[in-house]
Amino acid sequence: MYCHINAGGLRGLESYVAQVEVDVSPGLPCFDMVGLLASEVKEARERIRVALRNAGVKVPAEKITVNISPAGIHKAGTAFDLPVALGIMASQGMIPPERLADVLVAGELGLDGGVRPVRGVLPIVLECARQGIGECLLPLENLREGNLVGEVAVMGVEHLEEAARYLCLDGEGRKRMRDRAARRAAANAGESPPEEKAGPDFASVKGMQEAKAAALTAAAGFHNLLLVGPPGAGKTMLAKCIPSILPPLGKQEQKEVSAIYSVAGKLEQGRLIKNRPFISPHHTVSGFAMAGGGTVPRPGMVTLAHRGVLFLDEMAEFRRQTLDILRQPMEDGTIYLAKSGGNFIYPADFMLVASTNPCPCGYYPDRNRCHCSPWEVRRYLSRISGPLLDRIDICCTARPVPVSGLWEPVKENGEAGSAAVGSASGNGSGAGPEPEPDGGREWDSNHMRERVLMARERQKWRYAGTGIEANGRLGAENIMKFCHLGLRQQRFLEEAAGRLGCSARACHRILRVARTLADLDGTEMITNAHLGQAIHYRQNGNLYQKE
């Protein structure tokens, strides 16, 4: 007898609904599975046979043929175990076939008939919603993840027998079982941990005002950032603080990022990812790990960092080929992978934060400590290729904070001073009151985050309907449209660009950053101070200066 059942398959980050067709007909007893299957799917035969027997189901001594369609797509993963097993039961009449019509099934089987979790549940359920399939039958452990979508009724099962029982029921009975499963899942998960904080606070970084201002600007406009400085200057510490000032992920973005992590098998306890990812690969990372590798590639570092931060500590130590992989994603926001399993486009819209020493010993240009020859210095930095450096809008030099700067300064003027600082930072321009000696409260994560959010609001308002997300993603064609300069500013930029030898491309980057700086100050007008600051960040990027 023939029957079919819906199953979910993954192809890269995308999912599709597959049909598991089962036919049990008279003939020599055998169990065949076809449909371009990977070895883990072919192995499912043995798992299913034993699981069925242990669940008390008699496998018929007949010819069993299973086809998973569309037969042209390569199937991988273990999510097909459960639908095949249920299909065999249905084709023997143990489950009424009409009850299978509106359900998608996914799950791995153990030999005892237990149902085990699979990865990529979130994209599968999202695909269900898109195709109008009303119900999903998933492993209990994946229940929470499946529920993130909301539009699809999701049932979590722990055992093959339980799954069969569920499918035999009608609408009312199923709902009761779903409620029970939900309660059980909640009990299993235990208490939900408190909202985790996104990285350490900027208040723990003393001094380094220049670097903090650079990080603030980068976060506000989603610009790429490069920190250069000797060892021990606090570059890594500063970079790790950046997530704490990034704006939270939007609803749609949360699902987007969670789906990627679901495919990578990194979605912890099926919780939606709310904080922006912060991916910090070691410098020995291979090109495949960075871009995504495999016949059907798993998401690489650039994709895992989508909508978040890709932090490359000691950037000059990375292999040059690995770094050059970043060029295309940084331009397009996606990575295009051509593999033997087909061509894949993965999202990779990240903010690059990199840190590097200026030379092999780390102390250039302090010639009292650094004995690296100019050639060594240049060779060290030339590992970061020019085109990559060209895509980094903000470059900032960090110097170690003197030990005396680590302690809180003794306040003589009390609270009044620091309150004034807050208001000064608000308008940011002109001769405001004297800021507190050590930067004070202005430079902790909460204040900085507020300013970032404000700047992002302004960008959202400005770019409404254009598809541009932030200043850092402004293309050359839009820069002139959105970065208006007054006559005085124009002349100022022209003069500076002429004197400093900036190309038109460099000017575009200067304008983009200046736009963000103006947004941070809450104004549409780009002033000379904004331009000056932007040029400073740009000039620092000229690492290849002649002696």
């Binding site: 005002q209 009292n368 690296c372 100019p374 240049r378 000064a424 003069e495 904004h530 000056g532 400073h536």
Partner: protein, 479 residues
């Protein structure tokens, strides 16, 4: 041309003095002073592989001319330069080898490379006086015609201080009409050459490889500039690859070409000190730029001063040492420390070893004062356009005060601005009467935030009063 090599030298000197009057002569025109045949002969002799400068000199001392060398018997050659070399020489005497030498010389000439044997009248006279002058020079560009020359040399890994002092001295000397000689090496040498050319002066570089090769490659732009408008010299035939052993020997040519050797920055054990030894052997005056005793980059210089070298404090002082002081005013380089103290400095510097260290110590002071007087008068770029005075910005004075020769980050500049707020304010009050009496200055000196500081620094960079390298700012108008 058939007297001894010493008489040639005499002749050459006379001819050079004659040539100096009409001026503007290049080596190509002076070629007439030596017949083509002779030139080819010397080229052949100097180009025999296996026979070095010492052998050539011995042969010439005995045989007096190339013709004489050709006529020497194998036995007398062997007595002079040993049997092995004599065999090489005999083989080189074949007709086809001589013709080949002529062809090669022609080939070099087409490539713009000139050949200058020791007896040639255009051979730099100063170089002839040193104990072991190169038997021949290969060169590109044109020979220096300036009355005097100074070598500006130093470490390859120079600090910001070294970079600034090098630029100041090289540009100042070049502007006054002194040929700046250096080695086209990384660091100080390259900076000196570039600064001299940028100042519109003349610069010569002595290479440690063939003149058709550029080493180090990063100095390619300067190499090409010197090829066009300056001079490149080497004692090694074109095509010689740069090798470590060749470089110390070229140092004697650098000092030999110069009347004065100025070391702007050198570490304790620097290759530069080899040049200084050579210079002392050759009787050249040696000057060194004093630095702080804590800076390892300046240790070599300070030691030189302690050992009797002159402390180089300003361009006019060096010009006086070169007896070029009247040229100084014309060239408009009288911008160093106050001229009143200059005489003393010079005396002290020249009076020798005992006071050398003292000169170094006190030398810092006038330099600092000079800088301050300058900062208030507008400094580097402001000097060029005194007519339309730019509006005075409120931060300029205090930011300039917070900057110095050491590269500093923005954070450090901010810190320095905060450390001395009283001084800043005082500065604001004082500034108008002292320097720009006609200008009005905003009454309040505001403590700048980061954006204002960045803007001010950028403006200072555009005006040439400050410089930014790798995110660190230095002041450039102190000299």
């Amino acid at each position: 041309m058939d007297s001894s090599i010493f008489i040639w030298k005499e002749q050459a000197r006379n001819e050079r003095n004659g040539g100096k009057e009409d001026g503007g002569n290049t080596i190509i025109e002076r070629k007439n002073d030596m017949t083509e045949e002779e030139l080819t002969g010397y080229f052949w002799l100097c180009g025999i592989s296996g026979i070095g400068a010492v052998s050539v000199r011995r042969l010439l001392e005995r045989a007096e001319t190339v013709k004489g060398v050709l006529a020497l018997s194998r036995e007398s050659e062997a007595a002079l330069i040993g049997p092995a070399r004599a065999a090489l020489l005999e083989r080189a005497k074949e007709e086809k080898r001589l013709r080949e030498a002529a062809r090669r010389l022609e080939g070099y000439r087409e490539k713009g490379i000139f050949f200058l044997p020791l007896p040639h009248p255009a051979y730099p006279s100063r170089l002839k006086e040193i104990p072991d002058p190169p038997v021949a020079l290969y060169g590109k560009g044109k020979l220096p015609e300036m009355p005097c020359a100074a070598a500006v040399i130093g470490t390859r890994e120079c600090s910001e201080y070294g970079r600034q002092t090098t630029r100041y001295f090289a540009a100042g000397l070049a502007r006054a009409g002194v040929t700046v000689v250096s080695g086209l090496a990384r660091g100080v040498d390259g900076i000196a050459g570039r600064a001299a050319m940028e100042a519109g002066g003349f610069s010569a570089a002595v290479l440690g490889c063939g003149v058709d090769l550029c080493y180090p490659p990063e100095n390619r732009p300067l190499y090409e500039w010197l090829e066009r408008e300056g001079c490149l010299l080497s004692e090694y035939p074109p095509g010689t690859r740069p090798e470590a052993r060749l470089f110390p020997a070229r140092n004697r040519i650098i000092s030999g070409l110069s009347d004065l050797v100025l070391v702007t920055e050198a570490r304790e054990r620097s290759g530069t000190l080899i040049t200084v030894d050579m210079a002392l052997e050759q009787g050249r005056e040696v000057y060194a730029v004093p630095g702080r005793i804590t800076d390892t980059c300046s240790r070599g210089c300070n030691r030189l001063i302690a050992g009797g070298a002159g402390a180089a404090l300003s361009v006019p002082q060096l010009l006086r040492a070169l007896h070029m002081d009247e040229g100084a005013e014309n060239a408009g380089t009288g911008e160093g420390p106050e001229s009143g103290t200059d005489g003393e400095e010079k005396d002290r510097a020249e009076s020798g070893s005992g006071k050398g260290a003292g000169a170094g110590r006190t030398g810092e002071k006038p330099a600092g004062e000079g800088a301050e007087s300058k900062s208030s008068s507008g400094g580097g770029a402001g000097r060029e356009k005194p007519k339309e005075e730019p509006p005075v910005r409120p931060l300029t004075a205090s930011v300039l005060r917070a900057l110095d020769c050491d590269p500093r980050t923005l954070d450090e500049i901010l810190e320095r601005l905060r450390e001395r707020p009283e001084e800043q304010n005082e500065d604001c009050r004082r500034e108008p009467e002292e320097a720009r009496s006609g200008q009005e200055i905003p009454s309040r000196c505001a403590m700048p935030g980061l954006p204002e500081l960045m803007e001010e620094l950028l403006l200072l960079c555009l005006e040439g009063r400050a410089a930014c390298r790798a995110g660190l700012y230095t002041r450039t108008d102190l000299l």
